[in-house]
Amino acid sequence: MTPQRDRIAPIVASLLLALVLSIIPLPELVDPLRPYWVALVLIFWCLETQGIITLGAAFLLGLVMDLLTGSLLGMHALGLVIMTYLVTRFRPRLRFFPPWQQALSVLALLVNDRIIVVWIVTLRGDSLPAASYWLAPFVGMLVWPWLFLLLDRYRGTSRHRVHS
């Protein structure tokens, strides 16, 4: 039981930080560039651990995100569930991609997510987002390798602590 909890603790902590980062205020100019932190962190844990980031976990996380941003309940949940599904499906391949190729896959995942969101938003009758809305996935792609290294290191230290 305890090892399981030790495996989950860093995941929860990093996801919580990602949630905070996704609603922390940014200047209006930079705001459209904000990467989808929650998705990036989720992708990382989905790639690096097995059996923890299930579709259900992604769904719950999406609901929390919906509550936080006050968006339609289920919107982020849908996006994250689909993203987790894709990552889980192609996990064996994604894991052994070189970093740049992995970053490109992350870009594809993020763009796919934005398409889902825009689809929902138009169904709902809200106005379409500005063109800058599509910049965020690219920022996410650029951030990915660094985030990967950072989280990998973080995971390494926390695992180390557990064993010692």
């Binding site: 609603i23 509550l67 936080l68 919107m75």
Partner: protein
């Protein structure tokens, strides 16, 4: 989901995964549909919001701390400058306040003359915006007052310059406010110069409101001030909303395309005022038949204004009488609702300064006339 069948056939695990995906997708869609239709989910959502509230505090805390240190290190010079600026502003506003006292007096007199009901006082409550970025598709902000301070759904939110929006969701310590620029927001307004009533819609842009239901021949000018009309029972009447900026009267269309610029600092304000919802008003003038209450003239004037708006342009003499009627309506409404309006109007309309005294005088005369004519 490409190659679903292929992989699914190979690994039963994959098939199970796909099945679970379908289940969650379906769940998400049902949730969204229910949330959109306002069935059950909103209530659940209000409960669940308590759970995520700590995250807001987590976000708010470093921002506050940063701002605190910033103001601590601001040098004295800039503080002195700001202080003198504020003193100037205070002086200017005090002189306006004096005028307001006189206007208030006049208003009471006129209302007594018209046998109208006394206007209810409106209570204010200060609130501050919480620095969080919400869903980019709807224009909403969060304020740091909630149920514990007696905030209620539907309360109007204004800032120093104009109407900002209305409270949409109330939680224990915070509330969400839908801004007037939200694409799903409609605000009943009237043009303060003519009394013409219409509805201002948000466009998803903090610098623009749209007035799609103004007839092409309507008496609208660039620089006209829009104020809340008080219809719809959400916003008290007479608060400045926006200034008309663009009017496009293209041939062959029924309606003019009118855009207005909101006066409130929708994208950069921090301090806001919550207007305490009005206590249930006694049967207002609007609802009573004309014979019962001479005060109705006000409303009739406004109605006349909106009907003349829809008619094709009449010849000028007729139009002018209508205009004077409209002015009567506006004048009374204006003084009744908000004296500060007059000053705003001066700022809002470029040529207002030269015209205003004359029109208000003539309006008063007209008003006397119409009061006599009515019975």
């Amino acid at each position: 989901m490409r190659g679903d069948a292929l992989v699914g056939a190979k690994f039963s695990g994959q098939a199970a995964l796909t099945a679970r995906l379908m289940m969650y997708v379906l769940m998400a869609i049902v949730l969204m549909a229910m949330d959109h239709r306002g069935k059950y989910v909103p209530r659940l959502r209000a409960q669940a919001d308590y759970l995520v509230e700590p995250v807001y505090h987590l976000v708010e805390w470093p921002v506050r701390a940063l701002r605190g240190t910033w103001s601590f290190f601001q040098n004295t010079q800039s503080l002195i400058r700001k202080n003198s600026e504020l003193a100037d502003q205070l002086l200017a506003q005090q002189s306006e306040l004096q005028r307001l006292v006189a206007l208030n007096e006049e208003n009471r007199r006129l209302r007594a003359l018209l046998d109208g009901s006394e206007k209810l006082d409106i209570e204010f409550q200060f609130a501050e915006l919480i620095d969080v970025d919400l869903d980019p598709f709807s224009h909403r902000v969060m304020i740091d007052r909630g149920k514990d301070r007696g905030v209620e759904v539907g309360q109007a939110v204004i800032d120093g310059n104009g109407v900002m929006g209305q409270v949409e969701e109330v939680n224990l310590h915070f509330s969400r406010v839908r801004l007037i620029s939200d694409p799903n927001h409609a605000l009943p307004v009237q043009i303060s110069r003519t009394g013409l009533r219409t509805v201002a819609f948000g466009l998803g842009n903090t610098a623009r409101l749209s007035l799609p239901s103004l007839p092409r021949e309507a008496d609208v000018r660039e620089g006209d001030l829009l104020v809340t009309s008080g219809l719809g029972d959400r916003f008290p009447g007479g608060y400045p909303v926006a200034v008309i900026e663009v009017i496009d009267r293209a041939e062959g269309r029924m309606f003019a395309e009118v855009l207005a610029r909101p006066l409130a600092a929708l994208d950069r304000g921090r301090e806001v005022l919550l207007l305490k919802s009005l206590p249930a008003p006694p049967p207002t003038e609007e609802l009573l038949p004309a014979e019962a209450q001479p005060g109705l003239i006000v409303e009739e004037g406004a109605d006349a204004a909106s009907t003349t708006g829809t008619d094709p342009p009449a010849d000028s003499s007729e139009a002018s009488t209508d205009v004077s009627l409209m002015e009567t309506a506006t004048e009374v409404n204006e003084i009744g609702d908000e004296a500060s309006l007059e000053t705003d109007q001066n700022i809002g309309s470029g040529d207002g300064d030269s015209e205003n005294p004359a029109t208000s005088d003539s309006a008063r005369v007209d008003e006397a006339n119409s009061t006599e004519q009515q019975p």
